[in-house]
Every structure is written in C-alpha cells, then in structure tokens.
Amino acid sequence: MTRTVVEARNLTVSRGQTPVLSDISFEVQEGEVFALLGGNGAGKSTSLLTFLGLLEPTSGEALVFGKSVQNDIASVRGKIAYLPEAATLYPHLSAYENVDYFLSLAGIGRSRADVEEVFDRVSLQQEARDQHMERYSKGMRQKTAIALALLRETPILFLDEPTSGLDPVAIDEFNRLVTNLAKAGTTIVMVTHDVYGACQVAHKIALLRRGTLVGSFEAKNGERIDTETVHAAFAERAVA
C-alpha cells in the first residue's frame, strides 16, 4: 500500500504579476522517483522552491505528507533534503566542515565514520575532503552537496539539476544511488532538462512548458520510461 508523499494541487505561483507556474497538479508516491522535465524558464526550480516554502503559491496547494507547506513549514522542512542546482556550499570550508555545519543547522549529528561512508558512496576523493571547497571542481562540490542531502536521511529528497556538472562516471554512480535510495523507500523529486538521465531513474516524468504541465509518462511493469518517446515529446512540446 503506497501513500502520496508529495502533491501539487492546482498550484499556481507568480513572481510579481507574471505567473511562473499555472494550475499544475501531480502526485508522487512513497519510494517513487519523480522527474519534472522542462527547458530553461519552464518553472521547474520554482516548483521545488514552493515545496520548500521559499516561495508562496498564488493559489492551489503544495502538500507534503498531506500537510500544506504554507501551514506547517517547520515540519515539512524536517522531512525534505534539498540539493540546489549550483552546489551552494561555503568555499572557505572543507567538505567535512560544510556537511557538519549544515547538519548541525538541521539538528542532526553524524559521526565522522558516517560522513566518510557517504563521501565514499558519492565517490568524493579522500584527499579532497579536508581541503577548502574553493579548490573543488563543480563536480566535487556537487558530490559534497549530494552527500549532505543523503546524510540528512529524510524521507524525501529534492534534487535540482542533480547531475549538472558531473562526469559520465559520476552520473552513472549518481543514478545508481538514486535508484537504491528509492528502493529503500526514499521519495525523490528531481527537476532536470536531462531527458536521458530522467528516463534512467524516474518512475514518473512530467513535462513542464512555461509553467504548465504538458505531458506525463510513467514506467510500467518495472521497465524504464522510453527515452525516445520522452525526447520526442520534450522536443515537440517543451522546447517548441
């Protein structure tokens, strides 16, 4: 018996007078990987920020475990780990220090061994872990941010363009990680413009164009969503 974990119910979000999301609705079940696919400016990141309570809906509702984000933001944030598009970590701190600090803000204590284990899972080089992040490549910063999200061990993971800047090997590792997390019961909502990557891991894909949902795809019988089909729809409806 699955339950709905993340739900957009006729969600509309405007920035000033301009609507960024228009009346979108979707549901994500527990343990599912849901990919919101769209081009630049489609409203993908706006969706995530609304669920994080960083933006207010103009109308409709963003629900997490059936609770309105706007009404119970503190409890909702405790259930979501968020990986922003550009790994937003402190350049003057090491990977260890960044992770330790943000976890402390979330009220979570993790041992050095736990952190090491997650760094190993995201393949962050051992020798880099104590260096200040100003020396990190974009990929290394992204891995650290992913590690932070994983270390929070929340039931929901929000990923904003998670594979951006990663090399192909790291992307494959990341995809495996996402699949394993979902199998372990973590619900994952990712926004991306990477059709191939989304089809590799997602159980559901929704196409977003100028703030409106224009198509959806679902994996059936344990098979992956067909990349060609999504790509064609993306090219036709999302980018056109």
């Binding site: 920020l49 960083l54 503190a74 968020y82 701190l93 600090y101 803000l105």
Partner: protein, 477 residues
C-alpha cells in the same frame, strides 16, 4: 538555541579565515587598546599632577610672609579640577574647557590650560579617547565586519541551503546578530580593562558596570541595524552603501547639525560684546580701592550712624577694608549675573543639541557617557560655581581682616609712613582663611539618574530596529 549559536560560530569561522575581517578587527582593537592605554596614562598623570599643583598652590598661599591683606587678595590662588576616575575612558569636555582657574580679587577669570590649546604631538593622539573610538569608530568596524552577514549567504545561495535545513529567518538573524555581539564584546573589552583603573581610582563599581552596559547596548543597537540592513538589502554592496550612509548621517552629520541648530536657536553673545557689557556694568560700581568714592557715601553714613561717631577715623573698624569688602560683594554680584547668564545660554544650547539624540544614537551615547563619567557641561558649570565661591570666600575673609586688623589711619598713611606700613602687615595666621579645594563629580546615584534619559533614547532605537527586523526582516528572508 544551538542553531543560533552554530550560525554565530560559523560566522566567526568565516571572519577568522578572511584576511579583511581579521585586519579590520585587529586594527580596531589595537586602536582601542592603544587609546585606552594612552588616555589612562594621560588622565591618571593629569589627576596626580593637578592634585599636586593644588597642594602646592595652597602651600604657596599659606607660606606667604606677613603683609597687607589686600596684597594677598591680588596675590591670588589657583583651583584645579582633578579629572574624575572615568575620564580615563571619556575625558569629555575637560579637554575643551580648561582645568584650572586663577582666583583673585575683583575678577572672575575663565578656566585655562585646556588640552586642545596646549596639545602638540602625542597629545593629539590622546584626543582619540576610548569613548570617541567606541562612539564613532566601533560602529564602523561592526559595519565592515557584518554588512554582508546575510547578503553574502543570499548571493552565494547558501541562504536557501540554510532555510532548507529547517532554519528559520529569526534564527538566521539572531545567529548573525550573536556573532556581531561577540565582536561587540571584544570591542568593549579594552573599556573593561580601563574601567579597572577607574575603579582603582575610586569610582563606584556599580556605576562602572552601568557605564559599560550602556556602551554595550549602544553597540548592540548598531549590530541590530547591521543585521537588518544585511537582511533587507539584496546585495552586499547595497547593504554596505546603506550602512555607511546611515553612519555618516548619525555619526558625522547629526552632531554638527545639532550644535549648529542649537547655536542658531539660542544666540550666545560674543566674547568682545560680553567684555564690553561687563566693563560697562562694572564701571557703575564704586572703586573698592578708593574709600572716598561717592558710591560709598551711604555706606559711610550708615557706619558712622551705627557706631555713633563723626568720622571714619573714629570707627572701631578700618573703613577702607569695609569698602573693599562691599565693593567686592557688589562686583561679584554683577559678575555672577553675567556668568550665570552665559551658563544659562550654554545649558540651553546643550539641551537643544541633546534633543537630536532622538535622531542619532551617537549623540545619546555621548551624553550618557559624559554624564556618567562626570565630564559634562553641568559638571563644568558646578566647577565654575564652586571655584567662584572659593574665590569670593577667601577674598572676603581677607577684606574682613583688612577691616578688623588695622586702623584706618595706618592703612591710609602706610605709603608715606614706614612704621604705619609695618603695622598694616598682618600675621600669616590670617592666610589660613583659604579652604582646601577638591573638586568631586556629582554623586554616583545622581549621575546614573541623569543618564537615564540618553539611555532611554538608545533603548528606543534598539527596540525600533528589532521591531523592523521582526517585520520587514522576516519578510525579506
């Protein structure tokens, strides 16, 4: 609470790893410690020197040989204002008003030997008192340390990451504020060290604690303003620009505006104008050196009637001494009217300038600091009144001796008769009319009470900024 503490600790970690922040903080601390050290040496030295000079002046007066009492009236005496203990932190108006007065008959001299008139070289550095640095420079240091506290997070998008961890906007503002509070504690530290010196010089410990608390409250007001600016401004540059503009207005412009407005509203007559008015008023008073002056005709008649004699030579007292005393009393009365009028004008101007404390916490902390340290205008006015009383008392005591210790004939004929001149020289015992002078600041309770008003202004600023943080700041995050 641990989240707030962690945010503050992280801010300090950022500062420790930032060369600019470390340089700013070290520069400020070196300046404050250096200034506290130099000012303390200067004021303690001045205090001991003035005490010594006061004793020397009293001894010099008492050790004068037997002579005519009126010569002692003109020999005069010095009164020194010993700096109060807290002047090691805030010398106040001591440096501008002068610290000693020459007291003599027939004159009210103004205070002299102000540091600003005598300063050269090192004394100019001494002008950078710890109080001035804390009032003007410390807010600037806090601005440079904290202007980007939140804008930096916003620009780097780490703010979103923080919020995503479940941190609330209030926790972020409090955390950043706590970090700046730590800087405040460091800046106040030299003040605490200097306060130990003040305590050892006899200042009440409770008053010192109140004094330090006032400064801490003032700097925390700046911390709150910095956090507010960093919260509502979109960029670090915008935040720095806004804070510097506020600093220039409240720390540089408002003190100038307040004094200009005060002097324009309450016009003070110039020195030359006053001097002419004094000369004109004094010219209407009889000459105390001339017993035959028509101004004393009535006095003579009264005395002759009182003692039932026909001439001043027959009086049991020396009429010339009586005239000297009467003339001095009348002259002093006239001079006091001018002095009181000048003090009234100065007080009114200062009162108007102090209203600007509602617009500038810098003016409020200045008033608070000078009142508590006992180096404000009111204290200076009391010094002038006390020294004038000292002057009048010893001059009149000498005039009394002039009237009672010699005959009219000897006194009037002493310039042509060496024997008469000898008889008009009175015993040195008579010089003991001089009271030992020691100027003390107002009692601690009075000073604390007087400082409530400026402290209330600072508290109002703090409350207003905190309310803005609560409303505008929370929305901006």
């Amino acid at each position: 609470m641990s989240v707030i503490r962690n945010i503050a600790i992280d801010e300090w970690r950022y500062w420790r790893r930032s060369r600019i922040a470390i340089s700013v903080l070290l520069t400020g601390l070196v300046l404050l410690v250096g200034s506290a050290f130099l000012t303390a040496i200067q004021m303690i030295d001045a205090s001991h020197e003035r005490e010594h000079l006061q004793t020397e002046a009293e001894n010099a007066f008492l050790n004068q040989p037997e002579r005519h009492p009126h010569r002692m009236v003109h020999y005069g005496h010095y009164a020194f204002r010993t700096p109060p203990p807290l002047s090691v932190i805030d010398p106040g108006i001591d440096a501008y008003t002068g610290n000693s007065i020459f007291l003599e008959g027939h004159r009210q001299n103004s205070a002299m030997f102000a540091d600003r008139q005598a300063s050269a070289g090192i004394a100019m550095f001494g002008a950078l008192s710890p109080a001035l640095l804390l009032q003007i420079l410390a807010p600037l240091l806090l601005i440079l340390m904290g202007y980007s506290a939140i804008t930096r997070e916003r620009e780097a998008r780490t703010l979103d990451q923080m919020i995503a961890q479940g941190v609330t906007s209030v926790q972020i503002m409090l955390g950043k504020g706590l970090a700046l509070g730590g800087v405040t504690a460091l800046l106040v530290l030299p003040l605490c060290i200097a306060s130990v010196l003040a305590a050892s010089e006899g200042e009440a410990v409770s008053l010192i604690a109140f004094f330090i608390s006032g400064y801490a409250l003032y700097l925390l007001t700046w911390c709150a303003a910095i956090v507010l600016s960093s919260t509502i401004m979109r960029t670090a540059g915008g935040s720095l620009g806004a804070l510097l503009a506020v600093w220039v207005i409240v720390a540089m412009l408002m003190p100038r505006v307040s004094s200009t407005v005060a002097t324009n509203i309450v016009d003070a007559p110039g020195k030359i104008e006053t001097d002419f008015a004094v000369i004109e008023a004094v010219s209407k008073i009889g000459d105390g050196h001339n017993a035959g002056d028509p101004a004393f005709t009535a006095l003579r008649a009264n005395l002759l009637q009182q003692y039932n004699v026909d001439s001043v030579e027959e009086l049991p007292i020396n009429f010339r001494g009586v005239v000297a005393g009467a003339a001095e009393a009348e002259l002093t009365d006239t001079l006091n009217q001018f002095a009181e009028e000048r003090m009234r004008v100065e007080s009114k101007q200062v009162r108007i300038a102090r209203y600007f404390g509602w617009l500038s916490p810098v003016l409020s902390i200045r008033e608070f600091s000078m009142k508590l340290a006992g180096v404000d205008l009111e204290t200076h006015h009391r010094f002038l009144r006390e020294t004038e009383k000292l002057r009048f008392d010893f001059v009149q005591s000498l005039n009394k001796a002039h009237a009672e210790k010699m005959t009219y004939l000897d006194d009037a004929g002493r310039s042509g008769d060496p024997e008469a001149e000898k008889r008009t020289r009175i015993s040195t015992e008579n010089w003991k009319v001089l009271e030992a002078f020691s100027f003390e600041p107002f009692p601690a309770t009075d000073r604390v009470e007087a400082s409530f008003n400026p402290l209330a202004k600072i508290m109002l600023w703090l409350i207003a900024i905190l309310l803005l943080c609560r409303t505008i700041g929370r929305r901006a995050l």
